[in-house]
C-alpha cells in the first residue's frame, strides 16, 4: 500500500502507489458528482497551501479537495508577502510549522524546494509544482483522465508535445507513464528538449507528423510567453505552424486519440481553439475535474500515514 510521508514527486512512487491513489480517486470522483460532496477523511486536520508562484487552478483545486474532506484550509499567497521582505523559504516554513499544520501544499519556482521543505517540517508535504522538476498531482490527474477515457493505463502510445525542457508537468508524466509501461514520445523543437532526453526512456521527435503518428493520447504543454521571442523559437507564428495542435496534425494520431492540456492554454500558440473545445477529442475539462479527486485521494492517503505515525510515536 501507499507508505509515503510526503508526495514530492512521481520518482519515488511504485506502480502500486500510483494505482492506490488512482483507485481512491475514482471513489472521490463519484463523490464529487453527488449533491452532498462531503467526506471527513481530513476532519480536524489543518492544510496550508503555500504558493510562492501565482496559480489559480491548482490552488483552487487543492483548496476544494481539502474542504470537501473536512480539513481546515488556509491559503498563503507568499508571492506577495514576507518573501519580498527577504525571508527565506525555510524561515517561512518554520513559522508555519509552529502553527502545527498537518498537510503542507507547496508550489515554488525553484526545483527541489519541496524536498528542502520536507526536511524541515514535521507534517506531510505535497509538491504542487517545484521549478522545472515535478508536478506529481498533475501527472496523477492526467493518468486518471487517461484511464477513464481509454479504459487502461498500460501499453498506450502517448505523445507529450511542446516545451518539454521547462516543464515539470512533462517530467512527472514521463516518469508516471513510463512506470505504468506506456510508450512515451516527446515532440518539440530541439531547443525546448531537455539534454539527453532519449536517456529518460522515451522516443524523441522534432516533427509533429512523425511524433503523433498512431498515438492514443496527445498531451500538449503550455509555452510560456517569455520563451516565445527569439531565444528558444523564432516566433509565435512559426511555433504554431510547426508545433501547434490543429486538426491537420491531430489527423496523424489514432482516430480515437484524446487531446489533453494541463492549462492554462494559449489558444493559437500551442493549440487550436476548436480542437481544445471539441468534446469528442478534448478531455481538458475532465482533467480539471479529476484534479480535485486525485488531490483528495493523495491527501487522504498521506493523512492516514500521518495519523498512523503519530499513533505509533
Amino acid at each position: 500500500m501507499f507508505a509515503h510521508r510526503h508526495l514530492l514527486g512521481i520518482e519515488g512512487l511504485a506502480r502500486s502507489d500510483i494505482e492506490a491513489i488512482l483507485d481512491l480517486a475514482e471513489i472521490y470522483a463519484d463523490l464529487n458528482r453527488r449533491p452532498d460532496k462531503h467526506a471527513d477523511a481530513l476532519k480536524g486536520l489543518t492544510q496550508i497551501n503555500m504558493f510562492f508562484e501565482a496559480s489559480t487552478r491548482t490552488q483552487a483545486s487543492f483548496e476544494l479537495a481539502g474542504k470537501r474532506l473536512g480539513a481546515d484550509v488556509m491559503n498563503m499567497s507568499v508571492a506577495q508577502s514576507s518573501v519580498k521582505k527577504g525571508e527565506t523559504l525555510i524561515d517561512t516554513a518554520l513559522t508555519l510549522n509552529a502553527m502545527h499544520p498537518d498537510l503542507l501544499v507547496i508550489r515554488h519556482p525553484s526545483s527541489g524546494a519541496a524536498h528542502l521543505l520536507a526536511q524541515k517540517v514535521n507534517c506531510a508535504v505535497l509538491n504542487a509544482g517545484d521549478g522545472r522538476h515535478e508536478h506529481p498531482t498533475q501527472a496523477l490527474l492526467d493518468a486518471l483522465t487517461i484511464r477513464r477515457a481509454k479504459g487502461t493505463l498500460h501499453r498506450l502510445n502517448v505523445a507529450i508535445c511542446g516545451d518539454i525542457a521547462h516543464s515539470r508537468v512533462a517530467r512527472s508524466n514521463i516518469l508516471l507513464l513510463g512506470r505504468m509501461e506506456n510508450r512515451v514520445r516527446l515532440v518539440g523543437p530541439p531547443t525546448l528538449m531537455p539534454a539527453r532526453a532519449a536517456e529518460l526512456g522515451v522516443e524523441v521527435y522534432d516533427d509533429m507528423a512523425e511524433g503523433l503518428d498512431g498515438v492514443d493520447v496527445v498531451m500538449m504543454l503550455r509555452l510560456q510567453k517569455e520563451r516565445m521571442d527569439g531565444g528558444f523559437i523564432p516566433s509565435e507564428r512559426e511555433y504554431f505552424h510547426r508545433y501547434g495542435l490543429d486538426a491537420e496534425k491531430l489527423a496523424y494520431a489514432k482516430p480515437d486519440a484524446i487531446v489533453m492540456h494541463p492549462g492554462p492554454m494559449n489558444r493559437g500558440v500551442e493549440i487550436d481553439g476548436t480542437i481544445a473545445d471539441d468534446i469528442n477529442r478534448s478531455v481538458i475539462q475532465e482533467q480539471v475535474e479529476m484534479g480535485v479527486a486525485v488531490r483528495m485521494a493523495a491527501m487522504d492517503l498521506l493523512a492516514r500515514n500521518l495519523r498512523e505515525a503519530r499513533a505509533g510515536a
Binding site: E11, T88, L89, I90, H108, S110, S111, G112, A113, H115, L116, D130, G131, R132, H133, E134, R168, R171, P194, A195, R196, A197, E199, L200
Partner: protein, 435 residues
C-alpha cells in the same frame, strides 16, 4: 637544535619514491635524509629531540593553491585563525589565498592587510594572490607591479571570467613583462550563466538549469589562444571535464608556459552525489559525470594535470539552506583534502609519490617556493599521516568556521598525525582528539 624524525615511510615526489628512513631537521630546513635508519643509532644520539613516526607516512606539506579565507569582508564564514587551524590539521603547510573576498584583493593596501593578518594569526605559511582586474570586474587591470612587490604570488579573477578578450590579452601581456603567474578558471560564461549542475540525464530529471561540459573547453581554448598570443605564464585551474583535456595537451606539447589544476571534489565526487538537491554538493564548476571524473584522475596520474587543490570555499548555513538554484556554491576542504585524495590511493588510481607531486611539489614549483621536496636543504614543511586510519566524518568537528563539507557522515580513511612548518610542529600530539 636539531630534530630527528625516525621510523617513517618517506614520500619523495621529486624522486618518485617511497622509502623507509629518517629525516634530520635543523634551523627550519631538512639537513639530512637518512634512508633505512637500521644501525644509525650513532646519528640519533646527536639529535636534541627524536620523534618516532611509528612507521607512518611522512611527506612534504601540501601547498594548496586557491584557498578562500573570508578576510576581508566575511569573517563570520572563515578567518585566518580558523583557516590556519584547519590547514595545519589537514597537512596544508602553505595556503595560497584567493582574492575573491568582499571587497576583492585588488590593491596593495588590501593585500598588505591580508598578509599582516595571516602573519599574526595563521600557524602555516600564507601566500596571497591578487585579482587580475579591479573588483574582478574584467575591465581594468590591477596594479600588477605594486601588488607583486607587496607579495602577491599570482593573479586571478577566480570564477569571474574576463570576458573582454582585449582586456585579458593586455593584462596577460603586462603580467608577462613582470614574470608573474596568471591563473584562470576557464569557462564560457554565456553558456554557464545561471547553471547549477552539468547538463545530462541527471540535470534533466532534477529540472535544474545546466551547463554543457563544452563550456569549459570553449573557455580553455580561448585562454590558451591568448596565452599563445601574449607568451604569458598561465595556470588553468579548476578544470573538470574530459572535453577540455585535448586542448591542454596540445598547448603543453606546443611549449606554452601552461600548467593545469583540478580541485579535489572533481576527483572524488560526481554529479549524482547531488541526489535530492543536497546543496553541500553544489560547487563551481558543477560536479561532472563519472566519465569526466575518471578522466581527471587519469590526467593527474599521467601528469597532464599538474596540481590538485582544495578550492576551499567556506559558506555559512544560511547561504546553503536554500533551494539548490539559489544556494551558494563551494565547499570547505582544507581538512578533507588529504583524506579525500587518499581515496584515490586506496582505489589504486594514484601512488603516493604521484599524489604528493600534485599536492605539494608541483604547486610549490609553479610558485617558485622550494618546498614540496624531501631533500637536504629544503624547508622542513612536512605532514605525517596514517593513510589507513578509518573514521566517519562529522562536520561539526571541522576547525573551519563554516562546516559546508560534502563528506559529512561519509567513511574516510587517512588521518594527519603531525604537521610541521619550517621544522616547527603546528599540529600533532593531542590535537587530533578534536578531529
Amino acid at each position: 637544535m636539531t630534530l630527528l624524525l625516525t621510523n617513517a615511510i618517506l614520500i619523495d615526489p621529486e624522486a618518485g619514491t617511497e622509502t623507509r628512513g629518517a629525516l634530520r631537521i635543523a634551523e627550519g630546513v631538512i639537513t639530512e635524509v637518512i634512508p633505512d635508519e637500521g644501525g644509525s643509532a650513532r646519528q640519533m644520539i646527536r639529535a636534541r629531540e627524536v620523534i618516532d613516526c611509528g612507521g607512518l607516512h611522512l611527506a612534504p606539506g601540501i601547498v594548496d593553491i586557491g584557498v578562500k579565507v573570508c578576510e576581508p569582508g566575511e569573517r563570520h564564514k572563515e578567518s585566518f585563525r580558523t583557516a590556519g587551524a584547519a590547514a595545519a590539521a589537514g597537512g596544508v603547510t602553505t595556503m595560497v589565498t584567493r582574492p575573491d573576498t568582499k571587497p576583492a584583493i585588488d590593491n596593495p593596501e588590501t593585500l598588505e592587510f591580508v598578509a599582516r593578518r595571516a602573519r599574526e594569526i595563521a600557524p602555516v605559511r600564507v601566500l596571497p594572490m591578487a585579482a587580475l582586474t579591479k573588483g574582478r570586474a574584467g575591465r581594468e587591470m590591477v596594479e600588477i607591479g605594486f601588488l607583486k612587490d607587496a607579495g602577491a604570488v599570482a593573479f586571478t579573477d577566480c570564477d569571474h571570467v574576463v570576458t573582454d578578450t582585449k582586456v585579458l590579452s593586455r593584462a596577460l601581456t603586462y603580467a608577462r613583462s613582470l614574470g608573474v603567474l596568471v591563473i584562470g578558471h576557464p569557462q564560457e560564461p554565456g553558456l554557464s550563466e545561471g547553471a547549477s549542475v552539468t547538463s545530462g540525464k541527471f540535470a534533466s530529471l532534477r529540472g535544474l538549469p545546466a551547463v554543457s561540459p563544452m563550456a569549459e573547453r570553449l573557455g580553455l581554448e580561448r585562454d590558451l589562444a591568448i596565452v599563445e598570443m601574449t607568451g604569458a605564464i598561465y595556470h588553468a585551474d579548476n578544470l573538470s571535464t574530459a572535453a577540455a583535456l585535448p586542448a591542454l595537451e596540445r598547448a603543453k606539447a606546443a611549449g606554452l608556459n601552461v600548467t593545469a589544476g583540478v580541485n579535489i571534489h572533481h576527483l572524488t565526487l560526481n554529479e549524482l552525489d547531488v541526489g535530492d538537491y543536497r546543496t553541500f554538493f553544489k560547487v563551481k564548476p558543477p560536479l561532472r559525470s563519472e566519465t569526466d571524473r575518471t578522466a581527471m584522475v587519469e590526467a593527474v596520474a599521467s601528469g597532464l594535470i599538474d596540481i590538485i587543490s582544495s578550492m576551499h570555499t567556506p559558506q555559512d548555513e544560511e547561504s546553503k539552506r536554500l533551494p539548490f538554484e539559489q544556494a551558494a556554491s563551494g565547499a570547505v576542504a582544507l581538512e578533507t583534502l588529504l583524506p579525500a585524495a587518499l581515496r584515490l590511493w586506496h582505489a589504486g588510481a594514484l601512488d603516493m609519490a604521484t599524489l604528493f607531486r600534485a599536492l605539494s611539489l608541483n604547486p610549490s614549483r609553479r610558485l617558485g617556493l622550494g618546498t614540496g621536496r624531501l631533500v637536504s636543504g629544503a624547508p622542513a614543511d612536512l605532514v605525517l599521516f596514517d593513510p589507513h586510519a578509518p573514521y566517519v566524518m562529522d562536520r561539526s568537528n571541522l576547525r573551519s568556521k563554516s562546516k559546508n563539507t560534502p563528506f559529512d557522515e561519509q567513511r574516510m580513511q587517512g588521518k594527519v598525525r603531525m604537521t610541521f612548518v619550517a621544522g616547527r610542529m603546528v599540529f600533532g600530539a593531542g590535537q587530533e582528539a578534536a578531529a
